[in-house]
């Protein structure tokens, strides 16, 4: 039991991320994605916390990635999650982050 308890934690949690990235955390708290942990999108941050220069985290924003939550699916309840058809929605732009800021979703880019 002690060996299992001594294993290192890979997900560091929102509070640890906020220590350095307070501007991004404040922006995230200001909008719809407020309940999300940073590591949902950026992945586990334990290596990045030890050596931020060497280990960089993911910055996803493609249609496929955002579609994991937001693509139309009859099993998703509309009152729980905002859904769009990632194949047809605003297809002139390639990625979701070309228009949306993931930390403040309705802050649109030009």
């Amino acid at each position: 039991m002690d060996e299992i308890a001594a294993l290192p934690a890979h997900h560091i949690g929102k509070a640890a991320c906020t220590d350095c990235h307070d501007t991004e955390a404040a922006k995230l708290s200001s909008d719809l994605h407020t309940g999300l942990s940073c590591e949902v999108c950026h992945g586990p941050g334990y290596q990045h916390m030890d050596d931020p220069e060497k280990y960089k985290l993911n910055k996803p924003g493609t249609r496929e990635f955002c579609g994991k939550c937001h693509d139309l699916n009859p099993a998703r309840r509309t009152e729980v999650i905002h859904q769009i058809d990632i194949k047809t929605h605003n297809i002139e732009r390639a990625d979701c982050i070309d228009c949306h800021n993931p930390h403040a979703v309705w802050e649109m880019k030009d």
Partner: protein, 232 residues
């Protein structure tokens, strides 16, 4: 009779093989199927947190999509354990109802896997979490066959049984289990059954919950809200 009535909402407690120590927490899990969006964040986080082998058939935590068609037939899919989310394969006109079911170890109070282990490598911690001692496990796979929920696998490198530990290493550090931390909709809840103020108690009181395969009397401590009878 009075005692039975007092613990009636928690079948796990009623049938517990080992009487839990009141001084220690006794963990249980709640999953709200109505809130799950099948994004697979839990499955991805679990693999990253616990160094689960990357091959698509080793999972400690995974998601299944159930689709009940208009003709009453059932379609179940879990591509790669739902780790890359889901694409509905049944045409929308044929769907009666569709939903996601996240699955993980039920941390049963009367675990079949604990009972069959010939060397006592699988055990229940005082917190009610079912764990495997890698030093004692001989890799005989009895527990993998005995688990009615399919929650165990043989680790290809260690050649020992591996399973969800409810992120025991994180709980001991005061952190939430990884899958609970990353769930974007809050569909997952865990808590201490001994603590009447825990969010789990609120969840159990506010919802009509069910466990998987209640007829097996495993004392499952994974309570689902909105579980259809079609789920196996």
């Amino acid at each position: 009779m009075v005692v039975g009535a007092a613990v009636k909402p928690f079948q796990a407690m009623l049938f517990a093989a080992n009487e839990p120590e009141k001084s220690k927490p006794w963990y249980a899990i709640g999953i709200d199927i109505e809130k799950c969006i099948g994004c697979g964040s839990c499955a991805r986080a679990c693999k990253a947190e616990n160094d689960v082998p990357k091959e698509p058939f080793f999972f400690r935590s995974w998601v299944e999509q159930y689709t009940i068609k208009n003709d009453g037939t059932l379609a179940v899919q879990s591509p790669n354990g739902g780790i890359d989310s889901f694409v509905q394969t049944v045409p929308e006109a044929e769907i009666f109802k569709s939903f996601f079911v996240p699955k993980m170890c039920n941390h049963c109070a009367k675990s079949p896997c604990v009972q069959v282990c010939p060397v006592g490598a699988t055990y229940e911690s005082p917190e009610g979490i079912v764990l495997v001692d890698e030093k004692y496990c001989i890799g005989c796979r009895y527990c993998i066959q005995a688990c009615p929920y399919g929650c165990r696998y043989l680790h290809p490198e260690k050649q020992t049984a591996d399973k969800c530990t409810l992120c025991y290493h994180r709980l001991k550090k005061g952190l939430n289990p990884a899958c609970f931390d990353v769930c974007p909709t809050g569909a997952r809840i865990y808590g201490d059954l001994h603590d009447m103020n825990s969010p789990l108690h609120k969840f159990l009181k506010e919802h009509s919950t069910q466990v998987l395969k209640p007829q097996l009397n495993t004392g499952s401590k994974l309570f689902y809200n909105g579980l259809s009878s079609e789920v196996r």
